[in-house]
């Protein structure tokens, strides 16, 4: 049975001029011990999806879903109290900026032992011992003396390690990492990613890694979900995605990476911008920017369906042998 099962998750934010759909009908599954990468640019809804899962969507956001099941437990009807028992213990999350994720008024030791005291009901002494062991596990030297330190005394890399220690303290079954290394230097990033990998392997915990950096998921994830404008557009194994992306957006994103060179020094770009609340297309959300858009795809939104061992939301996947015929038949859009 899948560890996590999400079906038709949507998150809307009411604004002065109508509702902003930050997450649109997102469905996916996660097995025990699986490493899933979620990539997307800004506005893709990748962070909000995970916040919805954790119950952390800020007011006035509205969360709706058909199913949200974790470890057999239904997260939809859950009371706040029961949710608090889950988050921080079985599902934990670490965020992008470690310097603002830690409470500046309390020592590291206090914040670390907090999770243990609340969820595992440990007494002070054993919590302390456990914490020192955790800090050593995440590679913080001189762990005992660090317990008295305050967050502002730590560097970015150290703070992120403390965050990770807090997140794994109660042996979670799922760790969600939202852009955990974006604010860090490259060499420190490599250290943190290596740490996450080794912890994941040792403890067999599932890991959802949210990032906009394709290189990071290439190294870490077994399976990758690509999100665009609040929707999942592709869900595929990492190897498959990088070798042969099926969705035009994924292909365009990869082609735009500087490391992929480009012909005579120019990078392939994606014209246009992601749709805002005022110009949401009727059909496929990517159609205004897609090189293969047709009159049909502009009118009719594609469904997320099984394709080539994964899933895709596109009328004309790149690996479809009949796509040229289909595109021609559906009248390619003339203006681009």
């Amino acid at each position: 049975m899948a560890l996590l099962h999400i079906s038709a998750l949507s998150v809307e934010f009411p604004t002065a001029n109508g509702a902003l759909r930050a997450v649109d009908q997102v469905s996916f599954e996660l097995e025990e011990g699986e490493v899933l990468g979620v990539v997307g640019e800004s506005g893709s809804g990748k962070s909000v999806t995970m916040l919805a899962l954790m119950g952390l969507v800020p007011i006035p956001g509205r969360v709706r879903a058909e199913r949200m099941v974790f470890g057999g437990r239904d997260l939809l009807g859950i009371s706040d109290r029961e949710r608090r028992r889950l988050t921080g213990k079985d599902i934990t999350m670490i965020f992008q900026d470690p310097t603002t994720s830690l409470n500046p008024c309390f020592t590291i030791g206090f914040q670390l032992t907090e999770a243990l005291r609340v969820h595992e009901r440990m007494d002070h002494k054993s919590a302390r011992r456990h914490t020192i062991a955790l800090l050593e596990q995440v590679g913080i030297p001189d762990a005992e003396s660090r317990l008295k330190a305050f967050p502002h005394q730590l560097s970015g890399g150290m703070s992120q390690r403390v965050m990770i220690a807090m997140a794994i303290a109660c042996n979670p079954r799922l760790l969600i990492a939202d852009e955990p290394t974006t604010a860090l230097d490259v060499t420190v990033q490599a250290q943190i990613l290596e740490l996450l990998q080794s912890l994941q392997r040792e403890r067999g915990m599932a890991l959802i890694l949210i990032t906009h950096n394709m290189g990071v998921v290439a190294e870490m994830a077994r399976r990758i979900i690509v999100m665009y404008a609040g929707q999942i557009v592709e869900d595929r194994s990492a190897a498959g995605l990088f070798d042969a992306p099926e969705h035009p957006y994924t292909a365009a994103l990869l082609a735009a990476l500087p490391e992929r060179g480009g012909i005579d020094g120019r990078l392939a770009t994606i014209p246009g911008m992601i749709p805002g609340p005022y110009d949401r297309p009727m059909g496929c959300l990517f159609s205004p920017r897609c090189a293969y858009a047709t009159e049909f795809s502009r009118r009719v939104p594609p469904e997320l369906r099984a394709w080539q061992g994964g899933r895709i939301r596109c009328h004309y996947p790149l690996g479809d042998p009949q796509r040229a015929a289909k595109i021609a038949a559906d009248q390619p859009a003339l203006e681009r």
């Binding site: 906009h212 290439a218 735009a256 990476l257």
Partner: protein, 326 residues
């Protein structure tokens, strides 16, 4: 041909207050960096936080005055500025900032932002100024109706284009770009990088491109300067350095950069974190984290030498030359 920039031994330190009673500490941001950029070329300055790359950029961009060192911009001495050369220097070098959301005055229309440098530095008539601004806008891919809009109506990528337009409107010979695309999405980064390349090809402007992202540097740089704690540990042509990095820090940077394609470089995960620029190590700046450190490294600061077509500051650069067979 006169190089657009010639810098020798630039040094910059800041005084850091540590409370009322203690003496101020000295933060050595840049410790003797020399560089040259030929016209129409791009020099990428690479480093992590605390490397001093922003400070170096600001010195060359004439935003800060270096403590010591020589700086020549298009042949003119930029430090001992003779009277009247300030304007000429301004027209030689311009700056593009990292944050697209802070570098444009939110209360000014785009047209006003673009024409301001012209008002201050040229005698163009109002009509000519507007024409030049409109021309620049078209070149960076903006539409004429954007002239009367305010910055908050634009996306991050568009704002950077406006910032680039502003930098180029005085036809400078050099543009210092401090992490100009770090805050942008991948697809927008590609657009801006293409724009910068096109403008360089059309106008012959040189770039001092500051970045921490080696994939970007690998794409656009002709030459690379690797900074660590204010010291240029390796500098030279990009292909030479990327093919065979001789300095352990460069090797670690290249190995740590996650990539989606190509062969994976051997994983050199550097331990620890960069020491504070207030307390740099006495010998080689990288000695606290280098996997190959020896006692000599800890005590003696390595000289910058020419090895295999580039400048490198490491006692054992030649050894890496031998061991590498890529």
């Amino acid at each position: 041909m006169t190089p657009v920039v010639r810098a020798r031994d630039l040094v910059q330190t800041y005084a850091v207050r540590r409370g009322l009673l203690r003496a101020a500490a000295k933060l050595q941001a840049v410790r003797g960096v020399s560089l040259e950029i030929a016209p129409g070329q791009t020099l990428a300055v690479v480093g992590e936080s605390g490397s001093g790359k922003s400070t170096l950029g600001r010195m060359i961009g004439l935003i800060e005055k270096p403590l010591t060192g020589e700086l020549e911009l298009d042949g003119a001495d930029a430090i001992k500025r003779a009277s009247g050369t300030a304007a000429r220097l301004r027209r030689t070098v311009q700056f593009v900032f990292q944050n697209p959301y802070g570098s444009l005055n939110p209360r000014k229309k785009i047209g006003a932002i673009l024409t301001e440098p012209l008002i201050i530095n040229t005698d163009l008539t109002r009509k000519d100024r507007i024409a030049k601004a409109q021309d620049m806008m078209a070149r960076v891919g903006l539409r004429p109706e954007h002239y009367t809009r305010y910055p908050h109506m634009f996306s991050g990528g568009q704002r950077q284009r406006i910032a680039i337009a502003r930098a180029l409107i005085l036809d400078p010979k050099l543009v210092v770009a401090d992490e100009p695309i770090s805050a942008l999405d991948v697809s927008i980064q590609a657009q801006v990088l293409n724009l910068l390349a096109d403008l360089q090809r059309d106008t012959g402007v040189a770039y001092l491109f500051i970045s921490h992202d080696l994939t970007v540097v690998g794409h656009i740089a002709h030459n690379v300067l690797v900074l660590y704690l204010g010291v240029a540990v390796e500098q030279g042509p990009k292909t030479v350095i990327f093919d065979r990095p001789l300095h352990p820090y460069t090797q670690a940077l290249l190995a740590s950069t996650p990539v989606t394609t190509g062969t994976k470089r051997p994983r050199i995960v550097v331990k620890g974190e960069p020491p504070s620029p207030i307390n740099p190590p006495p010998g080689c700046v990288f000695s606290t984290r280098c996997p190959y450190v020896t006692d000599r490294c800890r005590l003696e600061r390595p000289a910058t030498r020419v090895v295999a077509g580039r400048l490198v500051a490491c006692h054992y650069a030649e050894k890496f030359l031998q061991t590498m067979s890529s």
